[in-house]
């Protein structure tokens, strides 16, 4: 490296990185002029260093502090009320970075909500279309439309079958339709051959609902809901059994 470049390294020798220090050291080992300059500046640097140690602090430690405090006492400065924990939290929430993150989360959640809503809406529309006929018939009480969920609830003890008009949004691939006539027959069988106290079906005026009340057991319900054909088979069995008796 040229001496003029080394000159910079000499004057900035306390600011150098290890690589620059190595360059300087190797150059000084072979260049007398630069070595002389280095020694010369080292002497100057030593005096500068001693100059820096001279105390030029304030002679009176109270002077400035008191003047400042007096000044801020007389000036109507902005008032800062004590900060409560809530304010502190609000301050944190209002920090630009936090606002950005919260804003992003809100946007994503809104997007997700809209997406799922549209998806749900579409699937409901599909179901509506698919079961349109059945729903209308159900509303006319020709059929009962019963979803798996309702079966579950029924088995759990609600004993409540909904005809479908109000609940068609819940329709799924598991929907089973039982003809009203079939059900009536089934009920009749139960009245005649089962325990009369087990079943009571009534049509409620307001909701096109059939309600089963009292002690119908799980197996019996399963028989009803497995499928129409199966129900019919079971009914036949019951009838045969009855005739046998």
């Amino acid at each position: 490296m040229k001496c003029e470049n080394i000159e910079k390294l000499i004057y900035l020798n306390n600011e150098l990185n290890s690589e620059e220090k190595t360059v300087l050291k190797s150059h000084l080992a072979v260049c007398r002029n630069c070595r002389d300059l280095f020694d010369e500046y080292s002497e100057t640097s030593e005096i500068i260093n001693k100059l820096s140690m001279i105390d030029i602090g304030l002679s009176d430690q109270n002077e400035i502090a008191e003047r400042v405090i007096n000044s801020i006492n007389t000036e109507p400065l902005r008032y800062y009320p004590p900060v409560s924990l809530l304010d502190r939290m609000i301050q944190i929430l209002l920090a630009p970075q936090v606002r950005f993150v919260l804003g992003s989360i809100l946007i994503v959640l809104t997007g997700l909500f809209i997406f799922t809503s549209v998806k749900d809406y579409n699937s409901i529309k599909d179901l509506e279309q698919k079961y349109n006929q059945e729903i209308y018939s159900a509303a006319g009480l020709d059929n009962l439309i019963i979803t798996q969920r309702e079966i579950f609830e029924t088995v759990s003890g609600l004993y409540n079958f909904v005809s479908g008009e109000d609940n068609y949004a819940d329709l799924s691939d598991d929907v089973i339709i039982i003809k009203k006539s079939t059900l009536n027959e089934l009920v009749k069988i139960y009245f005649e051959y089962g325990s009369a106290s087990l079943i009571n079906i009534e049509k409620q005026e307001f909701g096109n609902e059939f309600s089963f009340r009292d002690g119908i057991n799980k197996r019996e319900l399963e028989l009803i809901f497995k499928s129409n054909e199966h129900v019919l088979e079971e009914l036949e069995k019951l009838e045969k059994l009855n005739m046998g008796n």
């Binding site: 000159e7 910079k8 004057y11 900035l12 600011e15 010369e40 500046y41 100057t44 640097s45 005096i47 500068i48 260093n49 001693k50 100059l51 820096s52 140690m53 001279i54 105390d55 030029i56 602090g57 304030l58 002679s59 430690q61 002077e63 400035i64 502090a65 003047r67 400042v68 405090i69 000044s71 801020i72 006492n73 000036e75 400065l77 902005r78 008032y79 800062y80 009320p81 004590p82 900060v83």
Partner: protein, 188 residues
């Protein structure tokens, strides 16, 4: 930053004047040193520090801990000093303030020839004051007040490289003039 200083900053931000007083008592000396290095006048430096500390009180709510508190404070001091220089339309005096100069002359350098070294000290001070303003400020803040290159760059709204260039020329100029004086003394 110590935990105590952090506490004082927090309380001062919330309007506690007692904490603020403690805070400024902690930092006023160093603020004064910086102001004095820039303005080279004790009274001017005191005024600048006072103004800076009042500005600090008014603006402390803006301090967001993204930078070092001292660097933030020294920047206020630095700017107040620059405003003073601009307002007074004067460059730094060529003379050091007498009171401070006495201190410098009284300082014990623990060298062999005290008188010669006192002279050397006063000469270096003199030479420092002859430097171009930027070079002088960079030189005194770095070599007399031990601020880092990075801190000085931040105070002056400059880059580390520019600061280093100014520092290089400042040190070179002082050394060169000193060498010249030594040669003249040797000849006389």
């Amino acid at each position: 930053m110590t935990e105590q200083t952090q506490k004082l900053i927090w309380e001062s931000k919330n309007g506690n004047q007692r904490s603020f007083e403690q805070l400024i008592r902690q930092h006023q000396n160093y603020c004064f040193r910086i102001a004095f290095r820039i303005l080279l006048d004790e009274d001017e430096a005191k005024d600048a520090v006072q103004e800076s500390l009042i500005k600090l009180w008014k603006n402390l709510h803006k301090f967001d801990y993204s930078s070092k508190f001292t660097t933030w404070l020294y920047k206020i001091v630095f700017n107040s000093c620059m405003d003073k220089i601009k307002m007074n339309k004067r460059k730094a005096n060529n003379k050091l303030d007498n009171h401070i100069l006495d201190n410098i002359f009284d300082a014990d350098f623990s060298m062999q020839n005290n008188i010669e070294n006192k002279d050397m000290a006063s000469i270096i001070n003199e030479l420092t004051n002859q430097l171009d303003e930027k070079q002088r400020i960079v030189f005194t803040l770095r070599d007399f007040e031990s601020l880092s290159i990075n801190e000085i760059a931040e105070l002056m709204n400059s880059t580390e490289n520019t600061v280093k260039v100014n520092l290089f020329y400042a040190r070179k100029n002082i050394n060169k003039k000193l060498k010249k004086l030594k040669v003249e003394w040797g000849a006389s």
